[in-house]
């Protein structure tokens, strides 16, 4: 029952994304600005998402964006809403998009951050050694994403997906890190990260 509801919820998110996002331009050799316009309806014109469960890209490490665009294009990280946008992307366009979003200033999420959950999340983050990879400021580095100022609803879903084996592609070290932790702990981590 609960599982079914979660599937519906994800499906609904996909529909929202598909409805909001403009139809992709499939012509080859599209200029970068055109590509960026394709991304803006969901990820925000400045790379800061105001759409539920859609991640912010502003200030993400260049290599993280590059890796993910390639994994999504290859189908090893299947993201249905992204598929039409990435399937014609060439390596040099991916590098240019990665550089573009890496250079944009990240802004805080428009969601409400719960201070009590932030305190709890900070203690958990210490135990889970988040800073070893994501850095103490949680701004990320190289292939490891920025978590600071990321959307809470997005991180909440992604960490659960890692834990439950639904997140494909990328490294599996995140799966080992969140191995067996509770939904409540994941939510606290998401609030903590968003507050940074």
């Amino acid at each position: 029952m609960r599982h079914l509801t979660q599937i519906r919820w994800r499906l609904a998110c996909g529909l929202v994304a598909a409805a909001i996002c403009a139809a992709p331009t499939l012509a080859e050799d599209t200029p970068l600005s055109k590509r960026i316009k394709d991304c803006a309806p969901c990820h925000g014109p400045d790379g800061n998402s105001r759409t539920a469960t859609i991640p912010s890209l502003a200030g993400q490490p260049k290599f993280f964006i590059l890796d993910q665009l390639i994994f999504i294009r290859e189908g090893v990280r299947p993201v249905e809403a992204m598929a039409p946008f990435v399937k014609t992307l060439k390596e040099d366009e991916i590098v240019a998009l990665a550089e573009h979003y890496a250079a944009l200033p990240p802004k805080s999420s428009d969601e409400n951050v719960d201070p009590a959950l932030v305190v709890r999340g900070a203690a958990l983050a210490l135990r889970l050694r988040c800073a070893s990879c994501h850095l103490p400021s949680l701004v990320g580095q190289e292939q490891i994403p920025r978590l600071a100022k990321q959307r809470i609803d997005y991180m909440n879903e992604v960490m659960k997906a890692y834990r439950d084996g639904r997140r494909k592609g990328g490294d599996s070290i995140m799966a080992a890190t969140v191995f067996g932790i509770s939904d409540a702990d994941i939510l606290a981590l998401a609030h903590y990260a968003a507050s940074r």
């Binding site: 609960r2 519906r8 909001i20 390639i70 135990r127 070893s132 292939q143 799966a175 067996g180 702990d185």
Partner: protein, 421 residues
Amino acid sequence: MITKNSRGKSFIAIGAISILTLGVTAALAQKPPVRRGPPGLSTMDKSDRTMSNQSQKLRPHRAPPIATALDKIPVGKLKLPAGFKAEIWSHGHVNGRTMVWGSKGTMFMGSRRIGRVYAVVDKGDRREVKTIATGLTHPNGLAFRNGSLYVFAIHKVFRYDSIEDKLDNPGEPVDLTQAFNLPPEIHHNWKYVDFGPDGKLYVQVGANCNICEFNPGIRGHIRRYNADGSGMQIVARGIRNTVGFAWHPVTGELWFTDNGRDWAGNDGPQDELNRVPRNQEGANFGFPYCHANGIPDRDIVRPNPCAGVIMPAALTGPHAAGLGIKFYTGDMFPREYRNVAFIARHGSWNRENKFGYDVVTAKVQPDGTALIQPFMTGLLDENTNAFFGRPAYVLQMPDGSLLVSDEQNSATYRISYSGPK
């Protein structure tokens, strides 16, 4: 309008979940408290999180999913014993790792994150790289038998029949996933597979954690099957994560590399090279209770953790990540290399001063242990703590030269010998 409706429905659904959850919590509260681990940790994952100093030198490295340009491949940095030389044999197979030969001379490569399987065809003066499968989840396990390529992608198993006759259009493979019935978790479950001298297909299943207890009938072992996925037997257990094994050419015994646990310090426990002694199939190699040459685990404490555990034939270094192993049976290299194992060490990530990033030899001693010595070095600069490539697997060529795959640079190096024998 559709958007609003979809969102509205979803929020109602979430509300319903919260009410259900509250109900369950209230029911649980009446039961006696269950002993749990520290908050934020699974009761199964025992790794001591407080050990971390949150050092930023302990993180995994990136394998660029774009091939290194030919003139940037660091073949010039490779150092080898006198008389040996290295050259680039193939390149452009993004993040290619495992290597097997087809019977008609095609070299097949598996990968991890990029999800591709490649066919490398020798055209004399150059190699042509074809991508024969994409979108798979860590298709690291490759084996070849009777014209068919077996591809293991975590729990999915595909057989491409007569593959070398149709490299440009491989078609749909035979799906053997159900027959093999492997666990679907991804972590430490990218496969290494190979046909043994007994004609059985040997398959690894890693522990899906850094350090935890698990059902030894499902995980943490090497198993073997008939080629159709029937007749599963466990061959060796108590293994954290082996992604390379081979059979000694003379004794026929199974040797395997095993990666030691992380987050327990820079110096270990060291990785292992293990030998499954003849007539001791099913033997226990210690994980998660006993590491390296008899070190009890610091987090999962039990009496006599190393009792009955077979000790490694050799330690292969802290966090060194020994992956591929092959025994040398060719005629090209000097006689002292005969039946010596070559082991590719991918190099450390969970260690402040990097270690490995090389190929070592393991010379089997009369007592069944092995002596580890450097063979191919130069990809690690200890002074700057920088690495330039990551050897993953080794493969003997028909002429007796040795191929080494470099996952980081999407290239293979051919090592040949032309000195005095």
